[in-house]
């Protein structure tokens, strides 16, 4: 009986997230309606564009790939109770590093060049994140502010690099195309989906395992749960904070590197359409569970991919999607509000009326 009760509580938690998503979609529908769309029609088109057929699904996976990385990056930091809002900046740091090494190092064979380029991207992202963690640990600088400032710094600095020192002959704000030896192959023939998605899936499984089973994962979670208690138990919470942020940033940096090596083959100004903050939304929707992230990442990828199809007709939907994402973040993170809205359901599923 006790086990059964636990299950219904879990079911309720799941339904609460689904309800939050639905509410956000309804609100997005209202905006679409104001914009002169038929919301049901628009959502149907989005769904069809996202999951209607094999080719559409592969395109959805293209959109999902960066979100899986940035979502995982956010989850990793979140395990230690750090808000990494600097994913965007770490992504840029990784992408720029990979693009430079990919384009200007040309003497290496592929087996060395590609791993080197990707590792350098991950390292750059990791170090950029670790700097914010260091400032937090050493000087008490609020990581929310520092990481957001570092986003602006990274995007502006990269724009500067491609506009001045790396400016190419055609005057385009992008770096030179990376060498053949640094390019990542496609996953299937006749479709531009790169192998980066495999990296994402493997990384998600590995990170999940590490956080659940290793000493480091345990320590990080201990610091995230109760920093003071963890320190009393002899855990160096400052070091754990920096290490976790490095890992989180490395995942973002790797994402930037993979996008350069597998999708764009060069650094292009403003190539990220806000992947960083989208990662926050995807991770929140997955309730910070790495395995659930796969589903939520593909779902968002689908919504984005479908919206981009509709977007070719009229240009509202893409912005409405970001609005829906934000609403999901708010609603999922406000359990008490959702409890109030879902009061009858909660009463039915959660016996004893404990606050959960």
């Amino acid at each position: 009986m006790g086990k059964f009760k636990l299950d219904t509580t879990k079911l309720y938690h799941f339904l609460r997230i689904v309800a939050a998503l639905l509410l956000a979609l309804i609100f997005g529908g209202v905006i679409l309606y104001i914009a002169g769309f038929n919301p049901l029609q628009a959502y149907k088109l989005i769904f069809k564009g996202a999951f209607g057929g094999g080719k559409a699904f592969l395109t959805t996976l293209i959109y999902a790939t960066p979100l899986l990385f940035t979502g995982l990056s956010f989850i990793v930091a979140r395990h230690a109770n750090i808000l990494n809002l600097g994913i965007e900046g770490q992504l840029y740091a990784g992408a720029m590093t990979s693009a430079l090494l990919g384009a200007y190092v040309t003497v290496l064979p592929k087996v060395i060049h590609l791993p080197l380029v990707l590792a350098a991207g991950a390292l750059a992202g990791g170090l950029y994140a670790a700097l914010a963690a260091f400032l937090k640990v050493k000087y008490g600088a609020n990581e929310v502010i520092t990481t957001i400032m570092m986003n602006y710094m990274a995007t502006l600095f990269c724009s500067y690099l491609v506009a001045y020192p790396l400016k190419n002959d055609q005057g385009l704000t992008q770096t030179e195309r990376i060498a053949e030896t640094a390019q990542l192959g496609r996953l299937v023939k006749d479709h531009s989906l790169s192998q980066a998605i495999l990296f994402a899936l493997v990384l998600i499984v590995v990170v999940n395992f590490v956080f659940k089973n290793s000493r480091f994962g345990y320590r990080a979670r201990a610091c995230g749960g109760n920093r003071l208690a963890a320190e009393t138990a002899g855990i160096n919470s400052g070091r754990i904070t920096i290490q976790t942020m490095f890992l989180s940033g490395a995942i973002s940096g790797l994402c930037g590197g993979l996008l350069v090596c597998g999708t764009y083959f060069r650094f292009i100004t403003n190539f990220s359409s806000g992947f960083g903050f989208e990662g926050v939304a995807v991770a929140t929707l997955a309730a910070f569970n790495p395995i659930a992230l796969i589903l939520s990442g593909i779902l968002w990828g689908g919504i984005k991919s479908g919206a981009s199809v509709v977007n070719r007709i009229a240009s509202v939907p893409m912005d409405v999607i970001s609005l829906i994402q934000a609403l999901v973040v708010i609603l999922v993170a406000a359990p008490r509000l959702m409890d109030k809205l879902l009061a009858p359901l909660k009463k039915f599923l959660v016996k004893g009326g404990r606050s959960v």
Binding site: I145, A163, I321
Partner: protein, 295 residues
């Protein structure tokens, strides 16, 4: 030498203009923080108000009505923040980030709907300037920002009400024990912050320039949070902190891009924020109850 003095004068004038929204927002944020609520949603309040002001000014072809609409939008948005954070005890940082993201998506969608392009609005009427001795032609918001900051300082530190608000921010439990309605003060704090952020946001779209531009606030809400800390959660400190960032922000208006690339100049305010929040504010203690839920 003469040229240098001219440049310095230009820098100062520009700094006063660019610091105005920061002073307004940070002064409001001080009140919010003193009541125990972290002002993480300021970016969103400003952005929504900025859009509202441009939309109002465009619709009524009157800047003052635009300002009114901007204030309505911004204050309503801050009310939502208060409901989520105070009534539903939501994590204030997440709520703020979420609402800032929402504000960006919402204003961009609405700009597309109203003006047919997501990047910027049509030109709209702007607020009249006033003539002041010494400085000459200047926006009415500049003296207003200083005046409001001083008034809020007076309210927080020289009135019994302000004392109550600070008690709520330091220790809600103690405040409740002596019969203070903590929720009321928290709502008041957030709404005052919303009002000032609305003025700041409206200043951007119907005073500083004459249109709404996508992501017009560009992180000023977050910079205001750090100005807030730098100013020791004191509205008067917000004036000094705001001016510092105004100077950093104005460099790009004064230094021509032929000598230093524009992107690097644009980085300056963000770098200054990073340095200030890491090294200059080490010994500032926040209101003890800030960010915590009430019950």
């Amino acid at each position: 030498m003469m040229e240098f003095l001219n440049l310095l004068g230009l820098l100062l004038l520009s700094a006063i203009r660019t610091s105005t929204p920061l002073i307004l927002a940070a002064a409001g944020g001080s009140v919010c923080a003193r009541s125990g609520v972290m002002a993480m949603g300021m970016e969103g309040f400003m952005l929504v108000a900025s859009f509202g002001a441009a939309w109002g000014a465009y619709t009524f072809q009157n800047a003052w009505l635009g300002l009114l609409v901007g204030i309505l939008f911004g204050v309503f948005y801050s009310l939502l923040y208060a409901v989520l954070c105070v009534t539903f005890s939501m994590n204030q940082v997440i709520c703020g980030i979420g609402m800032n993201m929402f504000a960006l998506g919402f204003t961009t969608s609405m700009t597309q709907i109203v003006w047919g392009t997501r990047a910027y609005s049509d030109t709209v009427p702007t607020l009249d300037h006033i003539q002041l001795p010494l400085v000459g032609d200047i926006s009415v918001m500049v003296p207003l920002a200083i005046l409001l900051a001083v008034l809020l300082w007076g309210y927080l530190f020289k009135t019994p009400q302000g004392l109550h608000m600070r008690i709520v921010g330091e220790n809600p439990l103690a405040a409740r024990t002596i019969g203070i309605n903590t929720k009321k003060f928290k709502y008041l704090g957030v709404l005052i912050c919303g009002l000032l952020c609305s003025l700041a946001g409206s200043f951007l779209s119907i005073d500083h320039v004459n249109r709404f531009v996508m992501d017009m606030t560009a992180g000023r809400g977050y910079i205001a949070v750090s100005v807030n800390i730098l100013g020791r959660f004191n509205p008067l400190g917000a004036i000094a902190g705001g001016l510092l960032f105004g100077v950093a922000d104005s460099l790009q208006n004064v230094v021509t891009s032929s000598s230093i690339p524009g992107q690097l100049l644009s980085m300056v305010p963000y770098v200054v924020t990073l340095l200030v929040i890491s090294f200059a504010v080490r010994y500032v203690s926040s209101p003890a109850g800030m960010g915590k839920s009430d019950d």
